[in-house]
């Protein structure tokens, strides 16, 4: 488990990274596990820095502009050496997902900041019993 090494097996397409860095570990364990009631727990000083959940509504103007920017940045001619675009639509897409949607794209982002990253700290809060509930809410729509 902790001694996993990064490896590629079989066809080599599946990435099997070893979770060795701080960011990986935060992603794996943050906010996970049984929460001991606050009144019987002595909290560690500074823990709240790690249990940040800044809420960012995905359906924001900034997000849409980011999508637009990503789309515009794409150089279709260069990509794939001039193959017709349809060729890029892989087998999973063959049955044709419907394209039109209605309703806003809503979601809540849990921003996870690694060591030394301060920009999201205004959203910090101490670990609380409700963290699981918050996470449930934050599953993507």
């Amino acid at each position: 488990m902790t001694v996993q090494t990064s490896r590629r097996r079989g066809g080599g397409y599946l990435e099997r990274p070893a979770p060795s860095g701080l960011a990986d570990v935060i992603e794996i364990i943050l906010d996970k596990g049984i929460v001991i009631d606050a009144y019987v727990r002595v909290s560690l000083v500074g823990i709240e820095l790690l249990t940040i959940d800044a809420r960012i509504v995905i359906a924001s103007v900034d997000t849409y502009l980011r999508f637009a920017e990503a789309t515009n940045r794409l150089d279709l001619v260069e990509h794939g050496g001039g193959k017709p675009l349809d060729d890029f639509i892989g087998n999973l897409q063959e049955k044709g997902a419907s394209k039109k949607t209605s309703g806003a794209v809503k979601g809540v982002k849990k921003a996870i900041t690694g060591g030394g990253k301060d920009d999201d700290e205004e959203g910090r809060r101490p670990a609380r019993k409700s963290s699981q509930a918050r996470r449930r809410q934050s599953e993507e729509a």
Binding site: E15, I47, F67, L74
Partner: protein, 263 residues
């Protein structure tokens, strides 16, 4: 209730009541001889001890309360200890950063009142491991699909590309909105296809959270030990089948961090 302190090495904890310190709680396990791997150290380099009753025990480490905790080191220590415990038996991970004041509290407030809960959970988790799977689109490929599949997106893209950065705000917004919605639909479809291929191999799954233009799927799976090889093989095959537009990233086996409820 008499505290039962099970130490894998020295009886170092006999005079601890005099210490100004607390107990960092890593996980709950079933007590057994050699349950804690020999030499396993945790927060502040201290040993991992079991404090418990006959049926369930908390894996803990002594921790001074007056010292700056050194978040990075403790996070890594927590992860290391919980995963090491998971390698040799069922564990119920406790949330990172949980410190209790004394053994009495661990016994009387954590273990005794929740004995049945922990036993049931340990039983459910025995012989299973967690894997985290992240699926991401190759951003350029999926955006090319979106452009190819939607005339309005194509037109808006061509139009806004010719404009200066500070022009066409409304059109850019509309373009972004359409792209976001198109991606959302692709995600729904592709995520369902991926999950259909994987779920026959898993005992349980729990969604995780991940975002971004390329985000497709972020989920934790609980997999029975005897199926692990087949599960990994299936994912390997799946990764190959979808590699032209989707990247799969599998982390694990891990302790069952996402399968202990917690509410």
């Amino acid at each position: 209730m008499t505290p039962v302190v099970m130490d894998t090495r020295d009886a170092i904890e006999t005079a601890h009541t005099a210490l100004e310190g607390g107990y960092y709680v890593y996980a709950v396990v079933q007590p057994a001889p050699n349950r804690v791997p020999a030499g396993l150290t945790g927060v502040h380099g201290g040993p991992v001890l079991l404090v418990g009753i006959e049926t369930v025990a908390a894996a803990v480490g002594r921790i001074p309360l007056d010292r700056s905790p050194g978040r990075r080191a403790e996070l890594m220590a927590h992860s290391k200890v919980v995963d090491a415990l998971a390698e040799c038996g069922a564990v119920v991970p406790i949330q990172f950063g949980s410190v209790m004041a004394d053994e009495e509290g661990i016994l009387e407030q954590l273990l005794v009142p929740n004995e049945e809960f922990f036993l049931a959970l340990l039983d459910e988790l025995a012989g299973r491991a967690q894997y985290n799977l992240k699926a991401s689109y190759l951003e350029d490929v999926v955006l090319a699909e979106v452009i190819a599949e939607d005339g309005e997106i194509r037109q808006l893209r061509e139009y806004t590309r010719t404009l200066a950065d500070d022009e066409g705000h409304g059109e850019r917004l509309r373009l972004g909105q359409l792209v976001a919605h198109a991606l959302e639909h692709k995600r729904e479809f592709d995520a369902a296809v991926l999950l259909r291929a994987i779920t026959p191999y898993v005992a349980a799954q729990a969604p995780r959270t991940s975002h971004g233009v390329d985000h497709l799927l972020d989920v934790a799976f609980l997999v029975n030990d005897e199926v692990r090889a087949a599960f990994e093989e299936q994912l390997e095959g799946l990764a190959e089948a979808v590699h032209e537009r989707i990247r799969l990233r599998l982390v694990g086996p891990l302790a069952p961090y996402d399968f202990v409820g917690g509410e």
